[in-house]
Amino acid sequence: MLKLISLVMAVIVWGLLSLTLPHEIFPGPIETTRTLWGDIAGGEVWTDLVMTLLRVAGGLVLALILGVPVGVVMGLNRRAEAVLDVWVMIGLTVPSLCYAIMAFIWFGLNEGAAIVAIAVTAAPSITINIWEGVKNVDTKLVAMARVFEASRPAIVRRVLLPQILPYIMASARFGLGIIWKITVLVELIGRPNGVGFKLFYWYQLADMRQVLAWTLLFTIIMLLIEVLILKPIERRVFAWRPQVAV
């Protein structure tokens, strides 16, 4: 309920702010929605939207594949931590635009390059999350499992994984936030379709109505993903957790 109110508030703030500028350069919510509706009815949004979502999904999966093992190794091994620490910091510092340019120049202007650029940008922050999680593993529980003669795979699966899972979830969510921003950027410089491409296209035509319409579309989709996919997964996975009342 509170969330709904705050959402309505955000729209109202947008509406009020849009009054400060001429509406060709800062259209309000109603005008933007009408434009968006027109685009949707015209049936041309779907290709771009689906392409962007596929890139986001592909980038996220690859980022997790790259980021999680490195984080786990760093959490488990002091030496690996010392060696990889610098790499992660460098990886985190290089601007995503650089990754995108390098990927497109080296691998050509194709989907693979786009997904690599997206994943490489997001992987370091995923690594940091997982690294933190592995370091916070309660070794007393591991000792308990060893006393009960649990096998190594059983310890990993039944004692370590449940402890790291919250961090994996957090890094996936966090990663998603980063990833969709990069995806738009990557599409802008190197893809012939997608939300980023469309944004840039309308920007060049200086059509702010369309720019905001596409931004709105993307925001709605991301909110839906959050509410309809991530939240329910989280609720299921963490059903055992006590409710925190502050």
Partner: protein
């Protein structure tokens, strides 16, 4: 009686954070016979948990010899160490599965020990939904469920109210008698030690200072005056050790045995 635990010249040192190493266990010798109930009594920080960790095989970095034979080792830790994402039942299943107890026996074992600990109604509760004492009891159930031949127990009843603790102590003795386990039981509580043990080792500063056999016939009753009398002797032996330790601000009025008694008695939750 053949021995199941043999420890000779066991030394354990920990590195302090400033790089200096500190001996926590100093040349311990210990033999525990099969089926014996041994209590180790000692003040906080004297190395009791460290010793149990070595016996349980969790700590493999030490000097000297420590061998444990005679079946599965069960270890009831000082903290419950339950898996928070599993229910009480799930935690027991985890232990039973890990120890490869045949599935056909699970329900019988679980019901029996849950009933003993008064937890039958709490099978489906998560650890955060039960009290600290209940969690400790659940950990006891988990340790007993897998039917260890040797049971190491680290202050298992210190968080329980006296009435519950009494009942479980008697149940523990019954189980011990029936299953012929070897039990090494660590406690601060001299009275508890006298009620439970065949033999009491008083530990302080990383070494055993006294050994006492408990000359009280079994079955014992918790209110037996003989236990009380004997526990006073134990406390006296124990108190000497405390006084020998350089404890600042300890009650050091010369020769005031009464004061000392009260002081140590307070320390040992009598």
């Amino acid at each position: 009686m053949n021995s199941v635990i043999e420890v000779a010249a066991l030394r354990k040192t920990f590195k302090g954070h400033d790089g200096t190493s500190r001996a926590v266990l100093k040349n311990l010798d210990l033999t525990v016979g099969a089926g014996e109930f041994l209590c180790i009594l000692g003040p906080s920080g004297c190395g009791k948990s460290t010793l149990l960790n070595v016996l349980a095989g969790l700590d493999k970095v030490y000097e000297g010899r420590a061998s444990v034979s005679g079946g599965r080792v069960g270890y009831l830790f000082q903290e419950p160490r339950l898996l928070p994402w599993l229910t009480a039942n799930g935690n027991l299943d985890f232990a039973l599965a890990s120890c490869k107890v045949p599935t056909s026996r699970w329900s019988e074992l679980k019901s029996r020990y849950l009933a003993m600990a008064g937890l039958s109604e709490f099978r489906d509760y998560y650890p955060h939904q039960i009290s600290g004492g209940m969690a400790q009891r659940l950990a006891l159930v988990r340790a007993l469920c897998v039917e260890p031949g040797i049971l190491l127990m680290d202050e298992p009843f210190s968080g329980l109210d006296e009435i519950t603790a009494r009942r479980i102590r008697s149940d523990l003795l019954a189980i011990w008698r029936e299953t012929r386990k070897t039990i090494v039981f660590v406690t601060h509580n001299a009275y508890e030690a006298c009620f439970l043990a065949d033999r009491i080792l008083v530990m302080s500063g990383g070494a055993f200072q006294h050994e006492m056999r408990v000359p009280i016939a079994r079955p014992r009753s918790y209110d037996d005056p003989a236990i009380f009398t004997f526990s006073r002797d134990v406390i006296k032996a124990f108190g000497d050790e405390i006084e020998r330790d350089p404890v600042p601000s300890a009650a050091t009025e010369s020769g005031s045995v009464n004061n000392l008694d009260r002081h140590t008695a307070a320390r040992m939750n009598i």
